[in-house]
Symmetry: C3
Subunit: 133 residues, 3 copies
């Protein structure tokens, strides 16, 4: 299992980590298998979404902010319950196929680390499973 390190620069943002994940798959030498990307955090998530127009990530981030308002009847003392809720909605992990030695994504898809309680130092775990004989 390998660890990607990233520094987020905003409270809420989607950081495109596709290139780093693809590189790890390439370096693993695995031809066919699974790639698990996991955010080991409770106020962040992993999503596969459009990586071409950055307005998509901005619209998603804003929509989540509207659905989960900063102020509310929250009891968690740290005051970041909205970030936990967004993490649950997004999910903390994603499994993607590896074929022909390459991470498989749809034409417009990218892998995003979703920050909901930044800015911070964060990590994403990447585990690559070989499914060949």
């Amino acid at each position: 299992m390998q660890t990607l390190r990233l520094t987020t620069t905003e409270k809420c943002a989607m950081v495109n980590i596709t290139a780093e994940v693809k590189r790890l798959v390439q370096e693993s030498g695995v031809r066919r298998g699974l790639c698990l990307i996991h955010a080991p955090h409770t106020t962040a998530g992993i999503a596969v979404q459009e990586g071409y127009d950055p307005d998509v990530a901005r619209d998603i981030t804003r929509a989540l902010n509207e659905q989960v308002p900063d102020e509310g009847d929250y009891q968690h003392a740290e005051g970041n319950s909205p970030a936990h809720i967004k993490s649950l909605i997004t999910g903390t992990g994603q499994v993607l196929p590896i074929e022909y030695g390459t991470l498989q994504l749809g034409r417009w898809q990218a892998v995003f680390f979703c920050e909901f309680d930044g800015p911070r130092e964060r990590t994403a775990w990447v585990q690559i499973i070989n499914a060949e004989g």
Copy 2:
């Protein structure tokens, strides 16, 4: 990895693809392992939900439409940001167990391709991983 092709007929709909996924698992001959179903799209998703009463899928689709209204302060030029947001909420992939050569689902569960920006030609990827010696 195999590709299912489907044609969606509505803007938003949940299409039951359980039979096709089960058939691919059967044909693979894999007795024990994992089945990854992935929608290689950014305005669609994969969900496991009730397949018995079609009103469940209709109620879910309608609830997502209410949570993510068509009109809003969206910047993405293509105008389909609500579909991207619904895709993030739903998730683009699902991993299910294979045991005894059969896709394992709960009694009322079915696999759905969730269309949020149709009608369109779509694909779903199915990757079957053998976990036996």
Copy 3:
């Protein structure tokens, strides 16, 4: 594949099942691989979230109740459409890495069975995949 049995005691609640999942991983003897946790239900889910302060789970449960109100224009005759919608938002499965014979979770992460239509007898499936030669 193994089955965890649990009895939920509330309509909506997040039940921490980390200890049981960790035990199954330990007992499997698998050093490196994947652990799939799947809720074979359509009104429940699996989430990885903070397990330290129980107020987090309470805040998440309450936020979902607000986002998906009990009363609405639902057609499903059983009357539990909100539970199905929460299940779709949460997701029914989660894949986690196994390394060094141990389930890998972030420092504050725990595995939760999310009940949305309890109280009930429920099950969670745990499938452990060996990824070593």
